[in-house]
């Protein structure tokens, strides 16, 4: 059962060949025996999962089942889950059991899905290797046979590794600068960052509020579509969430791609990209040509400024968002504070890890008196230039295609001592968040036995078209079905 997709598991449940309780127990048993190799979960919520499975079986018996009813999945540990510890990968929230559900959590519950637990992640979603988690690094299921432990990417590295290792068929992720797409690429699964405002951020612990967006991580585009059907939609509890009709993302998966106009941003096929990676990406694009698409080169002249703009905007917003962790209302409080200031400064010094502290300090600096215009305002202006590049490109083409990451999965410990070299890992993904447009990572080949992702970038609210393009590719390729050995 563990090799089946969400769509296939849903059909198994519907046929009555297996109950949700049986299915959930099988997945839990496998998760408990297998995850020692990957550390992809922070919390396994066995008791709640079995209760949800029993409720799902009753829901089905009452004739009220949805596609998701009884299907197991997992949440990145950034989505608040009522009664289940939500740590955001941090010591700061090691003891935090939310009294409420995120909207995304509530949506999956309403559909009858069964949450097996919470997946590991970089602390407060800050990282590209899942090495900054308080709960330890996650190991990529790929590359283990070579004797090296490799990173799964980050920050949604636990979700990506769990899906790749067949511990769950699907998991939620969040993407602020590439945190769904890059781990999806490095673990050989399918991930989608939706348009900013498509999925509610309510109850999704905030990192950079103008960039954060939740989205699906699964093995197939079809399963990602099934997830987005549940995740997307307006939410009065998130004032930045867009009030716009949600299509059935599965309805258009089988549209033919004949005539699809693909743009290749020349800046994304630069010397930063390893040649072996480029070959795989170009092979994938040739498959699209066989499916009837046409290809032309386009330019995103300001894309080179994306990392610089991001490392002002994201830390600035993080410094404001993370000011709420003060040891007063929830989360970590230091022992024996001698006064209020000591309580704040030590709780935060002891509760946050190094990367989080670095970003809070950079952000506080960029927002401090005398620097606001030079940093934050300047970065927001550059952000508009970057957005304009994409708007111009989408006047000529339907989608853009590029690599997701400059290299395949690197070894644990290889980049985590130099923050800037880690930041460059997101060179092809960050501009998309700044523009607020949607993009996917789709398995597109291997280099040295490690997965390579193809990035498909679309205009605002073109998630259906991206999923269609990914699904059609997956009908003629089998990269997404390869299993780590």
């Amino acid at each position: 059962m563990h090799n089946k997709s969400v769509a296939e598991l849903s059909r198994e449940l519907e046929s009555g060949r297996i109950s949700s309780v049986e299915l959930t127990q099988q997945f839990l048993d496998r998760l408990k025996t297998e995850d020692g190799k990957y550390n992809s979960f922070i919390t396994i919520s066995e008791e709640q999962a079995l209760a949800e499975a029993r409720a799902a079986d009753e829901m089905r018996a009452a004739g009220k089942a949805t596609v998701w009813t009884g299907v197991p999945f997992a949440h990145k540990d950034i989505f608040c889950t009522s009664g289940i510890r939500t740590s955001c990968g941090s010591k700061m929230l090691d003891n935090f059991v939310p009294p409420y559900d995120a909207t995304v959590t509530a949506n999956f519950k309403a559909a009858g899905a069964v949450c097996l637990g919470k997946t590991n992640m970089d602390e407060f979603a800050m990282g590209s290797s899942n090495e900054s988690s308080f709960y330890g690094a996650v190991t990529n299921p790929w590359g283990l046979s070579g004797g090296d432990k490799r990173v799964p990417g980050g920050s949604s590295g636990g979700s990506a590794a769990a899906v790749a290792a067949r511990l769950v068929p699907a998991a939620t992720g969040t993407d602020t600068g590439g945190s769904i797409r890059q781990p999806a690429a490095l673990c050989g699964i399918t991930g989608l960052k939706p348009t900013y405002g498509r999925v509610s951020r309510y109850g999704m612990i905030a990192f950079a509020s103008s960039l954060d967006q939740g989205g699906p991580m699964a093995r197939t585009a079809e399963d990602a579509a099934l997830m987005l059907n549940v995740m997307a939609g307006h939410d009065p509890k998130d004032s930045t969430c867009i009030d716009r009709e949600v299509p059935d993302y599965t309805a258009t998966l089988n549209e033919p791609l004949k005539g699809l106009k693909i743009g290749l941003p020349k800046e994304y096929f630069s010397d930063q990209l390893a040649p072996a990676m480029e070959e795989q990406v170009r092979n994938a694009i040739r498959e699209y040509e066989k499916l009837g698409a046409t290809v032309k080169e386009v330019s995103l002249p300001n894309a080179k400024l994306a990392i610089a703009a991001y490392y002002v905007i994201a830390p600035a917003e993080a410094s404001a968002n993370l000011s709420r962790f003060d040891g007063v209302r929830y989360g970590y409080r230091c022992e024996d504070p001698k006064d209020l200031m000591d309580m704040y400064t030590r709780s935060r010094a002891e509760g946050f890890g190094n990367e989080v502290k670095r970003r809070i300090l950079v952000g506080s600096y960029a927002l401090s008196a005398g620097y606001f215009d030079a940093y934050y305002l300047k970065a927001q202006k550059v952000r508009r230039l970057i957005q304009q590049d994409f708007i111009n490109a989408f006047r000529e083409v339907d989608v853009l295609m590029s690599p997701v990451s400059p290299t395949p999965a690197f070894k644990q410990g290889e980049k985590n001592t130099d923050p800037v070299s880690m930041y460059l890992e997101d060179v092809f993904t960050i501009a998309i968040n700044l523009a607020g447009i949607p993009a996917m990572s789709v398995p597109a080949g291997f280099v040295d036995g490690l997965p390579v992702g193809l990035q498909i970038i679309g205009d605002y609210f073109s998630e259906a078209r991206l999923l269609n393009a990914a699904h059609q590719f997956q009908q003629v390729t089998d990269w997404h079905q390869r299993e780590p050995q």
Binding site: Y330, T345, L361, V420
Partner: protein
């Protein structure tokens, strides 16, 4: 662009994060490198460009000014480090 030890100490106070001497040295290097990266922005010509706060230039939605939330003080305070009589406890501020 470099950042001085004094700047780091000042910003650590603003950010309410305690840092010791050794950490300041490490931060001097790391934050200096990050600010070097960010410095590429100064080369961009943004004279007539409006800053972008929301990708779709959406504005805050208003709702009727009526109570919609119920009081959940007990649920919220159950997860607090220290409370008494429905209040959050912190170290004494006024002697």
């Amino acid at each position: 662009m470099s950042i001085s030890r004094e700047d780091i100490e000042k910003v650590a106070v603003l950010a309410r994060i305690k840092v010791d001497g050794e950490q300041v040295s490490a931060l001097e290097k790391d934050l200096g490198n990050i600010l070097d990266l960010v410095d590429q922005l100064s080369a961009a010509d943004t004279d007539s460009v409006e800053p972008m706060a929301h990708p779709l230039d959406a504005v805050q939605k208003l709702r009727p000014d009526v109570v919609t939330e119920t009081n959940q003080r007990e649920a919220f305070q159950a997860i607090a480090p220290a409370t008494e009589d429905g209040l959050y406890l912190v170290p004494r501020v006024i002697e």
